[in-house]
């Protein structure tokens, strides 16, 4: 199973942006609160694969700093490809998903010119 999750990362990053058939029309994101979204991010398990800061890892791609469009983001959560478990409206209402989206969008930009990463 470890390899299943490991393999997922190879495909998920691309899938986030492209997995839906047919592609839904672009929509503006509903109003969301990043602070509420942070709580939801932890409560409903997003952090498990994407990290507390949405920085990504072997089990799920980075979502921070990507400026993902709401339409693709929300559609993917409802009908994910690959290994991500789906989140239905029943367990994660769109209003809550909008808070989570706001949290993801609020993540700070990566550190610049980190000396350890220049070596």
């Amino acid at each position: 199973m470890k390899k299943l999750f490991g393999a997922a990362v190879l495909l998920l990053a691309a899938a986030v942006a492209t997995a839906q058939e047919p592609k839904p029309a672009a929509q503006a994101a509903p109003a969301g609160n990043a602070e509420t979204g942070a709580t939801l991010w932890r409560n409903v398990g997003c952090w498990q694969c994407h990290g507390y800061e949405a920085q990504g890892g072997a089990a799920g791609p980075r979502l921070s700093g990507r400026n993902l469009p709401w339409t693709g983001f929300s559609a993917y959560v409802r009908r994910p490809a690959n290994q991500m478990p789906l989140y239905t409206e029943k367990v994660l209402p769109t209003t809550d998903l909008a808070h989570i989206y706001a949290y993801v969008q609020s993540r700070p930009a990566p550190a610049q010119n980190v000396p350890l990463l220049q070596k």
Partner: protein, 647 residues
């Protein structure tokens, strides 16, 4: 085999004909053969009255000591096998050979390593092999010990690693001590692990032991390598080497079997496919049995200028070799027209994607017509019960052979078939791959910068800080590292065979900590800095191994990847809740290690290990790692507990 009563033993010695020791017999045997001559006519079987007295231990006082027990000869055999260590939690069913090892054998070759759990003993031996390239021994009770050891044996079996297992037993029911010795005796000790070892025997005599001990070593070391088990009867260990048996005792010569190479016709066909391919891809998993395996893989890859995907069952290719394209594995597989799989655990899973959804599904990840070539020693030996063999791979060329041994012939065949036109095409491919490798390295560094200052600390930050501390040392990563998102592979410079040991094989949690200590034990005499990125859940299985590390002064720098959970299971429970559309916020129940949080530093300190933490501020990592490294350089274990992101 049967343990003898003391009277019987005395009379047998008196009545036996004594002959000179055979040539080449060890010291223990020679001494036994030179016992005082027997008095004529006193070797008759005991009469009924005598036999009755034999059952009363008060009656007999003579013949209660021996200077040459069978265990001494067993030690001679082990010494001939060049076995450096025997890991063991002490047990009465092997008290005879235990005493022979420490007194007759001088507690060297093998040296007794005291363990607090048999699972630790086996996992230590497992990782020791992957550093040292030769088996380490384990001693265990034939019943309770083997059951404790079973999970670790299964890991070694799945990982195709030889472990030299010995288990004590008391077969003669009339000679067992009442009580515990009965509960610790068994008709067929190996039965409980026979499904996941390669070979076992239950020697009836010391000559039988000698042959089986050497045979077991040879079988274990012949690819596919796996654990083997010799059951040691208590009577054989403890009773004197009789003058009758002594002349028959000798240590058989050990000649390891040359690893099997692939059939020459199959090698030629594989070479033809690879040379003519537009996008050949080499995938390596448990390929490099030895350091030579790395060089052989590089030679083949460079002969073709083909990308290599390292599935990291072993240290197969340097992380910074430009043909190492592991970071783009999915893309390489999807574009390939020929794929060469070298000792793959799961060829099917390499070329197919499987979706873990309520309605499970799979799809091919390769283009129609892609040709698959497999070289795998596991095809030479299969068992049916445990299902570690994975889905059946439909390949085009299958060589039941050792891949490392086959690579030189394959490389030569590739070179013979390579025309100037193909060589130019190969060079163009090399240029593209070099550029892709450089881009992947830069991308990894850019990714690592995300959440750089986060708390809990990102696994990328932890790996980068650790690398900065050890990069100038002769280091060896003795742990698995998959659960930290592979950051060590993405940021560190892996080059040598001992710098990565693969994983557990069977994914049995509890392998990590003892395996790390076993790898560090092997690294000790080489003066290497052993580094262990340690999962918290794994640590808790058998934490007594840290006492073993402290007691035997095994230097190892352990960094806790403390995500306070059995995190894989957190994700699985989340998946179930999502599928069932209920309680998606209850994933922590039964999966997390909180309330209270475990203080790993205190546990380690209690075992005699230098320890710091828990560390939650990433800025505190570097000085803590430096202090711990200073301890390790003095020859001691040290631990730094880092509270981390989940992966």
């Amino acid at each position: 085999m049967a343990r003898k009563l003391s009277v019987d033993r005395r009379n047998f010695l008196k009545g036996a004909a004594v002959t000179g020791a055979a040539a080449l017999v060890p010291d223990a045997v020679t001494a036994a053969a030179q016992a005082p001559p027997a008095e004529a006519g006193q070797a008759a079987r005991p009469a009924a009255a005598t036999a009755a007295r034999e059952a009363d231990p008060v009656v007999e006082v003579a013949g209660e000591t021996t200077a040459r027990p069978g265990g001494d000869f067993m030690v001679d055999v082990l010494k001939s096998l060049n076995i450096e260590y025997v890991a063991s939690n002490p047990g009465s069913s092997f008290r005879g050979i235990h005493e022979s090892i420490i007194n007759y054998g001088g507690n060297t070759m093998p040296e007794f390593i005291t363990c607090c759990h048999e699972e630790s003993s086996v996992a230590m031996a497992h990782a020791y092999f992957k550093v040292e390239g030769k088996p380490m021994a384990v001693l265990a009770h034939g019943t309770v010990g083997l059951q404790h050891a079973a999970m670790a044996i299964y890991n070694a079996y799945c990982d195709r690693v030889p472990v030299y297992l010995m288990a004590g037993n008391s077969l003669d029911a009339t000679m067992r001590r009442p009580g515990v010795e009965w509960a610790h005796s068994v008709q067929d000790a190996a039965a409980m692990v026979r499904d996941f070892i390669k070979w076992d025997d239950n020697p009836y005599s010391l000559p039988h032991f000698a042959e089986s001990a050497v045979r077991a070593y040879k079988i274990a070391m012949t690819p596919p390598m796996m654990p083997v088990l010799i059951v040691l009867d208590g009577g054989l260990q403890e009773d004197p080497i009789s003058p009758e048996v002594a002349p028959r005792l000798r240590v058989p010569k050990l000649t390891l079997a040359a690893p099997p190479q692939g059939d020459s016709g199959a090698v030629a066909e594989a070479a033809r496919l690879l040379v003519n391919a537009q996008n050949p891809v080499i995938v390596a998993d448990r390929l490099a049995r030895t350091p030579a395996g790395i060089q052989r893989l590089i030679e083949l890859a460079e002969a073709l200028q083909a990308p290599v995907i390292d599935q990291r069952g072993r240290m197969n290719i340097p992380s910074r070799h430009p043909l190492n394209q592991s970071e783009s594995a999915g893309q390489q597989i999807a574009n390939a027209d020929v794929i060469l799989g070298l000792e793959l655990t799961d060829f099917w899973g390499t070329v197919n994607a499987f979706r873990d959804a309520l309605h499970r599904s799979s799809r091919s990840r390769i283009r129609p017509g892609t040709r698959l070539i497999s070289i795998n020693s596991v095809d030479l030996f299969a068992k049916s019960n445990f299902q570690d063999f994975q889905r059946y791979p439909e390949v085009d060329v299958a060589m039941a052979a050792d891949a490392e041994a086959t690579l030189p012939a394959l490389t030569e065949a590739v070179k013979r078939l390579t025309t100037d036109d193909r060589r130019r095409a190969f060079q163009e491919r090399r240029t593209r791959l070099e550029e892709a490798h450089a881009r992947a390295r830069q991308a990894s560094k850019a990714e690592a910068a995300h959440a750089w200052d986060a708390s809990p600390i990102s696994t990328a930050r932890m790996a980068a800080e650790l690398w900065n501390v050890i990069r100038a040392e002769d280091w060896s990563l003795v742990s698995e590292s998959g659960n930290t998102s592979g950051w060590a592979f993405r940021l560190w410079d892996f080059e040598k065979h001992h710098q990565h040991l693969g994983d557990s094989g069977g994914a049995g949690v509890g392998y990590g900590a003892p395996a790390a200590v076993g790898g560090a034990l092997a690294n000790k005499k080489h003066g290497r800095i052993s580094v262990n990125i340690q999962g918290d859940g794994d640590f808790l299985y058998a934490p007594g191994v840290w006492w073993t590390a402290a007691h035997h002064r095994i230097p190892i720098l352990t960094v806790m990847h403390n995500n306070r959970a059995y995190h894989q299971e957190v994700m699985h429970i989340q998946r179930m809740a999502n599928w069932h559309q209920r309680g998606i916020d209850r994933h922590h129940i039964g999966t997390t290690i909180t309330n209270p949080n475990v203080d790993f530093a205190k546990i380690a300190q209690g075992m005699g290990v230098y320890a710091e933490g828990p560390i939650t501020n990433p800025r505190d990592l570097a000085p803590a790692f430096q202090r711990a490294l200073a301890v390790v350089k003095k020859g001691e274990p040290a631990l730094v507990d880092v509270v981390t992101q989940p992966r």
